[in-house]
């Protein structure tokens, strides 16, 4: 297992380099000008100077190389130094600067990450906590009213896009009932019970919308996987041994059914970080998804490139984690 993990990690390096290059070249080819937002009164010579100051005068491979160096050495050192407080970790020198805000990309990401993790991460956890028991019970009592209702709700939750359910909830709960605020206030600092209440209220709707969506997806997986295993011969063996229904379902069947479900859950974790782009837009949650969208609109190439590559790393990493979990859960799978 260890050699397998090491081999996969080493293989990930060329993969990620290639992904970074492709994203970089795609951004090179894309139309758009980071100077487009500047006032038209700026003379062309000055405009040219500003362009050079952003580093846009260099050949593409020079720019790719310097980005790569900053991304893999300088920025991680700052992140580590900020997290641990150990100043000697910091590598001095230029940073990856966002064209839009003129501040280091890593600092902006660090500001935005908590919002995304709170809203999207929480709804992912809620989704799993809801989906697993519902899926198990639905499968155990297949075609019961509980299963019918659960299947219907998960089908609805799965088919309705969040840009529909989001505004619908806003209409009902913010406009008609006035229970929750429409706009998520990122500047809210929670230092009292009252503020905590406000935070809960503003999180309620986006978390609910995303929880519904995540739970719907995972419930369907869980139920299907349980049903697959429920009719296996070893289940009959467990019953013939005189095991209680609880042991039969929650030990014998569940352990087998969790194998594909855990893999799906692990593969879905990167989407927690990429932020629910649409939902964040709908509720004005100032998270990573919203950051990526505004960066794309503004041709903020360093920001888009850095975020995209970070997401790529997360996806490659969680693919590996899913593979490892698979081997941990299923004794028949050995990679070495």
């Amino acid at each position: 297992m260890f050699t397998f993990t090491m081999r996969r990690l080493l293989l990930a390096i060329p993969t990620l380099l290639f992904i970074a290059l492709v994203i970089f070249l795609l951004l090179e080819l894309s139309p758009g000008d980071p100077m487009a937002d500047m006032p038209l009164t700026i003379p062309p010579e000055v405009r040219q100077q500003m362009r050079l100051a952003l580093g846009l005068g260099e050949a593409w491979y020079v720019r790719f190389y310097s980005w790569l160096y900053l991304f893999s050495v300088v920025e991680p050192s700052h992140v580590m130094a900020n997290m641990t407080g150990l100043e000697w970790l910091r590598v001095e020198g230029p940073r990856i600067i966002s064209f839009q805000t003129r501040s280091p990309v890593a600092d902006i990401v660090a500001q935005r990450l908590p919002q995304t993790l709170w809203v999207v991460g929480l709804s992912y956890i809620f989704g799993i906590l809801l989906a697993v028991p519902i899926g198990i019970y639905s499968a155990y009592r297949q075609y019961s009213w509980f299963d019918q209702a659960g299947t219907f709700v998960s089908m609805v939750g799965f088919s309705l896009p969040t840009f529909f359910t989001g505004p619908l909830l806003m209409l009902i709960f913010s406009i008609w009932l006035g229970w929750f605020p429409i706009i998520y206030d990122t500047t809210l600092v929670v230092d009292s019970f009252y503020d905590f209440g406000l935070q809960l209220r503003q999180m309620a709707m986006p978390v609910f919308v995303l929880t519904l969506y995540n739970a719907a997806q995972i419930t369907r997986f869980m139920r299907a996987s349980m049903l697959d295993n429920m009719t296996q011969d070893y289940v009959r063996t467990a019953r013939a041994k005189g095991m209680t229904e609880k042991v039969v379902v929650l030990v014998h069947v569940l352990r087998n059914s969790l194998i594909p479900v855990v893999t799906v859950i692990a593969l879905g974790i990167p989407t927690v970080f990429t932020g629910a782009i649409i939902t964040e837009q709908v509720f004005r949650v100032n998270g990573l998804g919203a950051l990526l969208i505004t960066a794309i609109y503004a041709s903020d190439i360093p920001m888009v490139l850095t975020l995209s590559v970070v997401f790529a790393i997360l996806i490659v990493l969680f693919n590996l984690i899913a593979d490892i979990l698979y081997a941990v859960l299923d004794p028949r799978i050995r990679y070495d």
Partner: protein, 331 residues
């Protein structure tokens, strides 16, 4: 009972019906039989004759719906299994009646160690501690002939061969010293040499432990080798039952005769072709009002298509469900 001893298992008029889209299927139709202590009862019949369904009905192992064990009684000692609540039923399963299934490749849970699966019934029924159950599991694996038993407890089923897995299944079934062992075609999925080994093992275990065994099979040769008594099933009914020697020497039902004729002979006159029983087994759709074998039977007459024959005693614990008098015909 013909000869004294109270049976450990006495099944009367067992009737199991499956609800399907095209109506009810009468898979087990008024089946009665008994099993004496220490006896080995062979059950034969072709696929779909109701052998497995009968045995699973005994312990309520059929998924319901679609299955419905509608009538009858299954007396285990002086208690009726069919009337038991869930908890009492669980106490019988694995404790008093052990079950070995057909396909050892799928009958063990792939994600748990063999040791865990053997220890489960020990801990549930016998109240053993983990350490006690582990020691007992080692003994059981040694009993069924698995070398290096203590180390192999921590292996997973996929690390065992088919024959070894069936040995493990037998170890699980025997874990709590059951009075009755039901083996549902335990060797069908194994190749012939392994089959012979498993048969030897069961013979030996029976001598050592003395439990009563019900052995379901397609293979008449196996029955001749190990069984005391044989029960022939056809179309969800028992068509003939008796001591092995009686039934093989003097088969009374045309189906039994046909079955015996289909066995290829190793010695004597060589036949140009394998013999077969012409026709198809019946579809058990309606409540049977005719002999299920009448369509394929050489001795069938009017009465056979109007009336379902009842089992009648023909002496020496031998009975048959047929109107035709085989002695009259052969004499």
């Amino acid at each position: 009972m013909p000869d004294g001893a109270t049976p450990v298992l006495d099944v009367k008029n067992l009737k199991t019906v499956f609800a399907t889209r095209s109506g009810e299927v009468h898979a087990v139709n008024s089946v009665s039989f008994h099993l004496r202590p220490g006896e080995l009862l062979g059950v034969v019949g072709e696929s779909g004759s109701g052998k497995s369904v009968t045995m699973m009905s005994l312990l309520g192992l059929l998924p319901s719906p679609p299955a419905d064990v509608r009538e009858g009684s299954v007396m285990l000692g002086d208690r009726d299994i069919l009337q038991m609540g869930a908890e009492d039923l669980r106490a019988v399963r694995g404790r008093e009646v052990g079950f070995v299934f057909q396909d050892p490749m799928t009958s063990l849970n792939p994600v748990f160690t063999v040791g865990f699966q053997i220890m489960e019934p020990l801990r549930a029924h016998m109240g053993m501690t983990k350490a006690q159950a582990r020691d007992r599991a080692v003994d059981l694996l040694e009993l069924v002939g698995i070398p290096d038993a203590r180390r192999r407890l921590d292996d997973y089923p996929h690390q065992f061969s088919g024959g070894m897995r069936q040995r493990v299944m037998i170890a699980i079934a025997l874990a709590c010293d059951p009075k009755v062992l039901i083996a549902d075609e335990p060797t069908t999925a194994l190749d012939v040499t392994i089959q012979a080994q498993i048969l030897e093992l069961v013979k030996e275990l029976r001598k050592k432990l003395g439990m009563a065994i019900i052995w379901i099979t397609h293979d008449l040769g196996v029955i001749a080798g190990i069984a005391d008594r044989v029960m022939v099933m056809y179309g969800g009914q028992v068509v003939e039952q008796g001591p092995v020697r009686e039934v093989f020497a003097d088969p009374a039902h045309p189906y039994t005769r046909a079955l015996l004729r289909t066995m290829p002979k190793l010695h004597g006159e060589r036949e140009p072709k394998l013999r077969v029983i012409e026709g198809q087994p019946p579809i058990l759709g309606r409540h049977p009002t005719a002999c299920p074998f009448s369509a394929r039977c050489a001795h069938s007459h009017d009465r056979c298509t109007r009336e379902n024959p009842q089992r009648r005693d023909i002496g020496q614990g031998h009975d048959v469900a047929c109107f035709w008098d085989h002695r009259g015909a052969t004499a």
